[in-house]
Subunit: 382 residues, 2 copies
């Protein structure tokens, strides 16, 4: 099976270049964990042609200086398209309004996680909801009842909010009820919360000397009941996003204080294709949650016909750490037997990935803010 030449198989199908609306590429500041080249390369290898990058870098992306620096880094290095999130801080609500149009959204950290962007008090939440432009999304890291809290603010300020990495039964049931009532909320779920839970992490532990750090992620892996609730409420889930959050083997091996986070860019599509193969997900749902919905929610530019990916629906593989492009040279999905893999990725007519090789040159990726402008310009001159 593994030796079949993909060209000769009949199982190659074409999909849109996927959009991952939640990644941490660690540059600037933590380039030993990941950098823009390794991160966007890992994206291409995963069939993802556009990533939306989170602002908890070092320094954090919370002002124009860091935005400018980060834009330049991506412009020079990115292998796939990208958008940048502005981070909400306790005191930048007013200052960021003028540069909001250069960002794909505002990220608000409402619970403790990696970095120090946590907003403790509701008054600071309210200030951001008051000032951030209504047509640019707000994304909230909100867990448990904090999901309800931030939905309340969205309702009070007559705007929508996107809930990152929904992980619990409680959260998805609340979002279902809120959507039923007509509240403006969208949400994403990660592959690790869909495929891993507290009772099926033997592989991760076995591969890493039983060190708990390798199972540590925010939000934490939940019970099998929570996991089942996500699958049972798939119709409520707008996006599947990796929350790709790389840390090195050394860091995850720290027994006292391992940082939270998993890599995910290269494994998400094979995991979802396997779910399609197993009848747990339809191909339409896969496309909706990793292309159509993120595009709509984040006002992303249309892809031309010359951007697409080809996947081999039948190719089997066992997840291992060796074929990863991410600097986090390990994966929590290790040992899983998957069916379906990325064969080729084409971005604006250029083959940027094929047969396990990333071919894109640095600077191939474009900022979605510029792509948007060009697409608007093109429409106008038509």
């Amino acid at each position: 099976d593994m030796s079949i030449d993909c060209i000769s198989t009949t199982t190659l199908i074409r999909l849109p270049g996927l959009i991952d609306c939640h990644v941490h590429l660690r540059e600037p500041g933590d380039e030993h964990k990941e950098d823009i080249v390794s991160g966007t390369g890992s994206a291409l290898a995963g069939g993802i042609t556009m990533v939306l990058a989170m602002p908890n870098t070092k320094p954090a992306l919370t002002n124009e200086t860091v935005l400018e620096m980060t834009e330049k880094l991506y412009e020079k290095k990115a292998l796939c398209d990208y958008g940048l999130f502005m981070g909400a801080s306790i005191d930048n609500a007013k200052a960021v309004v003028d540069i909001a149009h250069r960002c794909v959204g505002l990220k608000m950290y409402l619970n403790t996680t990696f970095g120090d962007l946590k907003l403790d008090n509701m008054e600071s939440w309210m200030k951001h909801f008051e000032t951030w432009p209504p047509n640019i999304p707000i994304v909230a890291h909100a867990e448990n009842q904090t999901v309800a809290s931030i939905l309340c603010l969205a309702e009070i300020y007559s705007r929508s909010v996107h809930i990152a990495h929904v992980a619990r039964r409680d959260e998805i049931l609340l979002i279902r009820a809120a959507k039923n009532k007509g509240l403006l909320v969208t949400c994403e779920v990660t592959p690790h919360h869909l495929f891993l839970h507290r009772d099926n992490i033997q592989n991760i532990l076995k591969a890493h000397g039983n060190m708990k750090g390798f199972c540590h992620v925010k939000p934490e892996l939940q019970t099998s009941d929570d996991c089942k609730a996500l699958w049972d409420n798939m119709d409520v889930i707008d996006c599947i996003a990796t929350d790709h959050a790389p840390h090195t083997l050394d860091e995850k091996s720290n027994k006292e204080n391992p940082p939270p986070g998993f890599s995910g860019l290269q494994t998400v599509l094979p995991l979802l294709l396997t779910a399609v193969h197993d009848g747990k997900l339809t191909m339409d749902q896969l496309i909706e949650k990793m292309y159509t919905n993120p595009k709509r929610i984040f006002n992303l530019p249309d892809q031309g016909d010359d951007t697409f990916i080809e996947v081999d629906m039948e190719r089997r593989s066992t997840v291992d750490d060796k074929s990863l492009f991410t600097k986090a040279a390990w994966t929590p999905f290790i040992g899983m037997m998957l069916r379906g893999s990325v064969h080729r990725v084409v971005l604006r007519g250029e083959v940027v990935f094929v047969d396990g090789q990333v071919l894109a040159e640095q600077g191939t990726g474009r900022n979605i803010v510029q792509l948007r402008g060009e697409s608007n310009h093109a429409k106008k001159i038509k």
Copy 2:
């Protein structure tokens, strides 16, 4: 001043019998802290003719058996009118629907406090919002962002919610914004959060050997900034309620684990009359927040002309522990110099308190559920 015979002063004015929509009278189960007689006596001495009693008794009032027992105790003993709250538990959402009409509201504990009625997960909150009759209030112990969480649930289920003991700037600003947007929310503030904060508790500490337990209350006393925000947003506060939560001197002296709570029934009116005297509050606001609004929010029966209180607007006093009727023989307001006191309380034509003496007999108080029925009946036969 103190020796003037009140009959001969010209400063006696008549007010409605006040309504305290949040008290803990500790019976059944903790009668050493308070019982129905001492608690309702303390109410009368404070100018309060109606109390709404919380369900965190022992056993907790979360089912028909305890409701029945508690109704009987109050019927026999109460010196003032009363209503009983049902406690929301993790698994009684369906069972309490049939007895909801015998209660004045459903109390939901969403944060940690005295007792074990805390509801941890949103799914249990949702079940109560789904089933509890929409015309009977839900009261939430919700602090910080939990206020926003429960407002979200109220919005999703198209019903109102009453927020108990708002204590923080954050909370009152959120409630202001929510009311502006038209969300169905009402709230109450305690006298201790209005008159005490972290920087003015010297008197309490001095009177009690610097033992922190005497300042411990849920929600905790906040900063002077939080306290100021409550006064600045007085127009958003629907009710002033004591959250009378008596514990004995011995219990509060426990250094490891003192229980949270203050008594408040006898001090609230003198404190508020002093605020009126000082121009911080109008008499109209006092009546609105301790009579008109609680009556409206909790659908309480009208008082007849033969129920009222008389207060001496000018009488000065220094708060001490000695003249308290509550079994919690201490007060956090100790040493405060107040102006204004209760002279006489008349309930259905009967003088039930005068000049420091409680005259009501046990059983004088009526259940508001019955009073409501009689008032409806009276209207019908007219």
